[in-house]
Symmetry: C2
Subunit: 227 residues, 2 copies
DNA sequence: GATTTGATGTGAAACAATTCACAAAACATG
DNA sequence: CATGTTTTGTGAATTGTTTCACATCAAATC
């Protein structure tokens, strides 16, 4: 059987996120330039890898002089389209939705949750700083704020239904915190974040390491098992 | 420079999570057996891939008969050590920590948050169903409940410090929700979940798809960009 | 300004993951 | 019970990713 899709998220792109996180930290520490091996050390990859990744995204440094952190960050802003503001809607104001609506790092990175939605918009109104709308006003808000990306934090039973509704109203990308795999047309970007799986995979590797018999599979782990 | 580590989380293992999610759903729909291509269709990979993955984990089916869903799920339980109970501690009872402490899916998968910790254990006591302890009682609780895995949901400024403290007290695996890359010895399993990155990567791909110029990199996306 | 040094950038080589292709097994059918 | 059909399981081929190795350049030093 022929696979429907090509190319999931590229590993090199995931590492660009990693590099940026390190660069931001180095910058706050007053560092102004890095060498490929500095960044490599910080992020737990090889210096070759850093240079290859940069080369893929056409990021150039100075021979012998390394890379200027401000240049790098600016370049990465462009890669991630962070020069613009991004309006986001959040569906589901249960425990997780409420926590996400108060997560101030989104704003710091130009991602603004402009509105939240819930089937029962009055339930938590007091505890929320953001407006909570009923689902019936979805289209209106999405159009007004030109929203293209949504966060789903509803119970698993209604996640697919909500997702379909979002797509009908023009949403192109979804981060889904409900523990179900969403189905959507291929032109829609879906990122399922499954908290149980994240925890379970840690338990899996801890067992492997402690029992020792699985070492053929892992040998050594870095500070983030995803890289 | 030689890289410090070999082998991050295996892609095949990540797909096993995916298969299980699909199998659970199929089971609730009354399905009892699957063929490699059934499961492939459900999970958006190829049937070859499914069989290769099963082969890697020594999962056998019946020639012509496909796979029995109950068998498969049982086999996967063993892979993930889900036959046993796992005691977890949660550090940080801010918005995110509070939401995680109320997330009932963990319990359904035999992962029990036995205690939570906060520098200010009285702050939210009323709203929490779980005991909130001061950090000074970390060792006592970890030892009593034989905890090996922790969830970090503290502000980024204290995340590394908390992580070090956890490792000193016997924790072997960490899921970290603070937006920093944690450093830890190689024998410790760390899974950094960065909410901003999850959202940003969706924005990135939505832009790629809409502008069309990046299609050389992605072509088509499935329902989850991670696979 | 010639020479040494230390870094980048990138083809080539090695390694890993995926897809292909088909033998082997199990069931159905006549 | 022989034959045809369907599906698994897995080596072989292909494709993708990482590592190696070194030419190239820019600065530092003599």
């Amino acid at each position: 059987m022929k696979q429907f899709t090509k190319h999931a998220i590229k590993k090199s792109l995931k590492r660009i996120f990693l590099y940026r996180a390190c660069l931001v930290r180095l910058k706050t520490m007053g560092v102004e330039k890095v060498f490929s091996y500095t960044l490599a050390n910080e992020s737990g990859v090889t210096s070759d890898q850093v240079r290859k990744d940069f080369s893929e995204f056409n990021i150039k440094g100075n021979k012998r002089g390394g890379y200027d952190i401000n240049d790098l960050l600016e370049r990465m802003e462009k890669i991630f389209h962070r020069n613009k503001d991004h309006n986001i809607v959040l569906i589901g104001m249960g425990n997780m939705g409420m926590a996400l609506s108060k997560y101030n790092k989104f704003v710091q990175r130009n991602m603004n949750i402009v509105a939240t939605f819930d089937i029962d918009p009055f339930k938590h109104k007091i505890r929320s700083d953001l407006p909570i709308y009923p689902m019936s006003r979805l289209k209106e808000i999405i159009d007004r704020f030109r929203v293209r990306v949504a966060i789903i934090a509803v119970p698993e039973i209604s996640a697919q239904e909500v997702c379909d509704e979002l797509i009908r109203n023009g949403i192109k990308g979804v981060v889904n915190f409900a523990p179900v795999l969403l189905k959507a047309p291929p032109e829609i970007v879906i990122n399922n974040v499954n908290l149980c799986d994240e925890l379970e995979s840690v338990i899996y590797y801890v067992h492997q390491l402690m029992s020792g018999d699985g070492l053929k599979n892992i040998e050594l782990l870095y500070r983030d098992m995803k890289y």
